[in-house]
């Protein structure tokens, strides 16, 4: 007779946790690279030279306009055709960063261009440099404006880490799927559902807290 739900969960927890660790690691790595990179790209796209704006448009169109899963396939299965063999983790992280930077930089860019022209003029008449203007006046104001959309992106990113399962990397969802197929019972799916929901809730709570902190001056 099959073990009861709780016994089964305890027994299969180690392999689920292994998948969870991979997902969380991927989430943080991609997040840590994507956030500053997106801000740099956004500043250049909003205030930078024309040629950069051109490249940015194409990049944005390419990565926002195609599914992340296809991007993973193309990189993972496509590069070897050109004799480019890269470690799978490197490919995964690079594709995720490129894809999420495309979304996040657009969010930051929106925040930057919505900053009132008067703020720039005030900085200019006070003698502040362009870098000071960005770092001390424009970007701090942008952060508050972009928090809600950034929160949504963070949740999407965590959920999308499950896409690595399609190229054979053992994330949270793939671990669960392996259990379901092996044992012919769906308990593991229920567990990862709960895990995804818990992590999303944690992310929302963190962002709510930040929003509160930043709305002090509104």
């Amino acid at each position: 007779m099959a073990a009861g739900f709780w016994d089964y969960i305890v027994e299969s927890m180690p392999s689920i946790l292994e998948g969870l660790v991979y997902s969380v690691k991927l989430f943080f790595l991609v997040g840590i690279i994507t956030l500053p990179l997106s801000m740099l790209v956004a500043v250049a796209a909003a205030r930078g030279p024309k040629w950069f704006k051109g490249i940015y448009k194409v990049y944005s169109w390419l990565f926002q306009g195609s599914p992340l899963m296809l991007q993973l396939y193309l990189a993972y299965y496509g590069l070897p055709f050109f004799d480019v063999i890269l470690p799978v983790d490197f490919v995964v992280i690079t594709v995720f960063v490129l894809c999420f930077t495309a979304y996040q930089s657009e969010i930051f860019r929106g925040g930057i261009i919505s900053t009132d022209i008067g703020q720039y003029e005030a900085c200019q008449v006070l003698g502040m440099t362009k870098v000071q203007t960005m770092l001390r006046v424009v970007i701090p104001q942008t952060v508050r404006k972009v928090l809600p959309s950034t929160c949504s992106q963070a949740i999407v990113l965590f959920k999308d880490t499950s896409l690595v399962a399609t190229i054979g990397v053992g994330d949270l969802l793939r671990s669960a799927r392996a259990l379901v197929i092996r044992d012919l019972r769906i308990d593991a799916f229920v567990v990862v559902l709960v895990i995804y929901l818990i992590i999303s809730s944690i992310l929302v709570a963190i962002f709510n807290k930040m929003e509160k902190k930043y709305s002090i001056y509104v």
Binding site: E121, A122, Q124, L126, G127, M128, Q141, I216, V218
Partner: protein
């Protein structure tokens, strides 16, 4: 009062594309003078002010601040000074905007010390002392820790004036400082500007407040059609408007404001 020329504009032309905004404008501002600039909207008042501190680029002519050529176009005889000289000359001009342009994410105190600390590199403790002094001058000592969003329009503008003063400017340019304010808040801002006039701060004030222009300024400049039409002491200007366009403008302003 000394007759030292503080700001000099020579043959200034400015246009936005096809639209001419300033045409052959000449003006000298002496140290310690308060100048009111009045005239119908679209006459180039604000643009004139914004050309002086280079928020707008001129198309022709040159501008000197304390003898340093900060802007020059089509004037080979008066080339621009070196970048460092221009920067230092522009650093002597402060500006107060119609829409305040305070930094909303900083407290009043942070707004006041931002540029002194990060541009002038004054030690923070010293910058705070200066800021406190300036806040007292505009009557807002109790608002140092408030964010701009918690202030009334009049208070915001007084903070903006204190922020300009904290940089110890030699001249302050006011671009319609009371136009965005509710009528009952205009007085408190004008009083602060009046206080500065009494200390002989050099000021150029673009304004629609005829009472202020009449009472406080040393000279009234009337602009119309891209140029200065009159430049006279206020008593003369208001008692004897010698130009039909000035007369028409004043009639309209005075009926509007009772």
């Amino acid at each position: 009062m000394s007759q030292e020329v503080m700001i000099k504009l020579v043959d200034i032309d400015k246009s936005y594309g096809e639209v001419q905004v300033l045409k052959g404008v000449n003006l000298e501002v002496m140290r310690g003078q308060t100048i009111s600039i009045i005239g119908p909207s679209g006459s180039g008042k604000s643009t004139l002010l914004r050309c002086i501190n280079k928020l707008e680029a001129i198309n022709s002519g040159y501008i000197e601040i304390e003898g340093i050529t900060v802007a020059s176009a089509n004037c080979p005889d008066h080339p621009m000074a070196s970048a460092a000289q221009v920067k230092s000359a522009l650093g002597k001009t402060g500006m107060v905007f119609q829409s305040f342009n305070l930094f909303p994410h900083m407290t009043v105190m942070q707004n006041l010390i931002e540029a002194p600390v990060h541009v002038k590199k004054i030690p923070k403790a010293q910058a705070i002392e200066i800021a406190k002094e300036k806040l007292a001058e505009v009557g807002l000592s109790d608002k140092a820790d408030a964010y701009p969003s918690k202030l009334s329009g009049g208070q915001k503008q007084r903070v903006a004036i204190a922020r300009a003063l904290a940089m110890s400017p030699d001249v302050i340019l006011f671009d319609e400082p009371t136009s965005a304010l509710d009528p009952e808040l205009i007085g408190e801002v004008l009083d602060v500007i009046k206080g500065l006039a009494e200390q002989h701060m050099t000021m150029m004030v673009v304004t629609h407040e005829m009472g202020f222009a009449k009472e406080v300024s040393d000279r009234v400049i009337f602009m119309d059609n891209c140029n200065i039409v009159a430049d006279r002491p206020p008593q003369e200007f208001f008692s004897d408007p010698d130009h039909p366009r000035i007369k028409a403008f004043l009639d309209k302003m005075l009926t509007k404001h009772g």
